[in-house]
């Protein structure tokens, strides 16, 4: 069976950080999972999932919480007529379902 990032971590959530940004938090749950995901998941992969330039992606690693956090400009501004997700909360699914052996 193909495994995903969600298989390795406690949870992944995403949310607007104001109307122009989205932030994605990966709660790894353990130091081991944190180190594993941190070594496997590249900025290029995350920005490709969101179809945004990698130069716009901010990455934070927080060992005390075993959290990896990504922030990037929303692919579409919140509330724009082409916006599909007013709160940006479902983008987390793209990372949850990202293949990771």
């Amino acid at each position: 069976m193909n495994t995903t990032l969600a298989h390795h971590v406690d949870s992944v959530r995403s949310k607007n950080a104001g109307p122009f940004w989205v932030t994605i938090d990966i709660f790894c749950g353990s130091e081991q999972a944190f180190k594993f995901v941190s070594s496997q998941l590249t900025n290029e992969q995350v920005s490709a999932l969101m179809k945004q330039p990698v130069s716009q992606l901010k990455r934070f690693e927080i060992p005390s919480l075993n959290v990896i956090k990504f922030s990037l400009p929303r692919p579409i501004t919140q509330g724009h007529y082409k916006d599909r997700d007013m709160h940006g909360a479902q983008w987390a699914v793209l990372l949850q379902e990202f293949p990771m052996a």
Partner: protein, 461 residues
Amino acid sequence: MNTRVLVPSGVLGLGFDRQALAAGVALKPDVICIDGGSTDSGPFSLGTSTSKYSRAACVAEWRDLMAARAQLNVPLIIGSAGTCGTDDMVDWMLDITRQIATEQSDANAPALKVALLYSEQQPSDMTQAFRDKHITALQPDIGLDEATITNCAHIVALAGAEHIQAALETGADIIIAGRTTDTAIVSALPIMQGCHEGASWHAAKIAECGALCSTHPTSGVIIVEIDESGFTIFPTAKGARCTPHSVSAHMLYENTDPFVLYEPGGYLDVHNAEYHAIDERTVRVSGSKWVATLPYTLKLEGAKLVGYQSTLIALLRDAHYVSNASAWVSRLSDYLNNSVQASLDLKPDDFFIEFRLIGVDATLGELETRLSEHHEIGVLVIVTAQTQDLCDEIAKIINPFLLHYPLTDDEPLPTFAFPYSPAQSSRGPLYEFCLNHIVSVETPLSATRLVSLEISTEPTA
């Protein structure tokens, strides 16, 4: 000295545990602070200057908070009144306050002193600030010109701690503030009373969503006590706990940077903050730093009207159409775009018809990575144009074809499911956020207006 702050919940209108409030009041906080809004639900609230939350829910909760305030005789502060924090919404909260004051009238109580903090900005003032180069873009830079400022339905500036402190200095029992940062309403009094500035802002950020920083997020009520070097925080609901993890993790929430938070007049830096459990439900935080910066800046929010919308929904259950939904929508879309242009004498840019296939990729659009089998698909049609009448006309042209359009010319007309009649709904005006900017001001208070008044609490005959 220590300042003890009670935060009943993340926002007025969302509810809180009444027993937890009583438990918090018993601890004799120095101030009660609650947020009234955010941009979280989108630009409609600011565009229309209306509350997202039910007035009845806000009245019911504000009634309890006013009673708690009267019992404690401490200030009660609401920031970002009525979701968007426009001047209208400050007046809306004042109206609610008057209504409750009448209900709670007491011949022995002194008149209620109310301070109103207005932070809405006039487009003419903002145009001048733009010409004077006092407005700076934040990242991502969405661009700005005078027409964008002029076209804003409403512009608000996010007030800071200095503005809430000015309101507190009037001796107000109740402060109704327009748009403020979520944190400023909480940090204002501790800073004013000489508590550690970094700790005051950090405490405010952790407490601003109420019990979201605890193990029982929906219980609402949080007590945070700030002193000369740090703060302690705990929830008051039975069984709820704050843990170093639940508290420190809240710095991640809705923040692009989990270590730095920009505020009017400076920024909070928590790189060196330390979180320790004091007991099973209380966390002590120290090491937070406040860095003051000049010039003093306020973040702006603006929403402008960009059009109107109508929507339709059809449901596909027929296996032939479910398996060919994308091809069907593509063919239908081409047909309708031509038909609408011809029928209404419109140009291609005069309207926009979007089909979103619910069950396929309605949530993620072109970002969707998953393909799977469906047995049912919802077809959400969103029409955008410059007037509601035009949207409704276009929706009525779409209606019969959304119901009956065939996949190919040589097959019988299908009929899909419409969930209600009429199939089309008028959505009303469409607003967009159009400012991601800060404005610098000579003195903090020059950007806002403070009004003091008294509400009689004497029973009316």
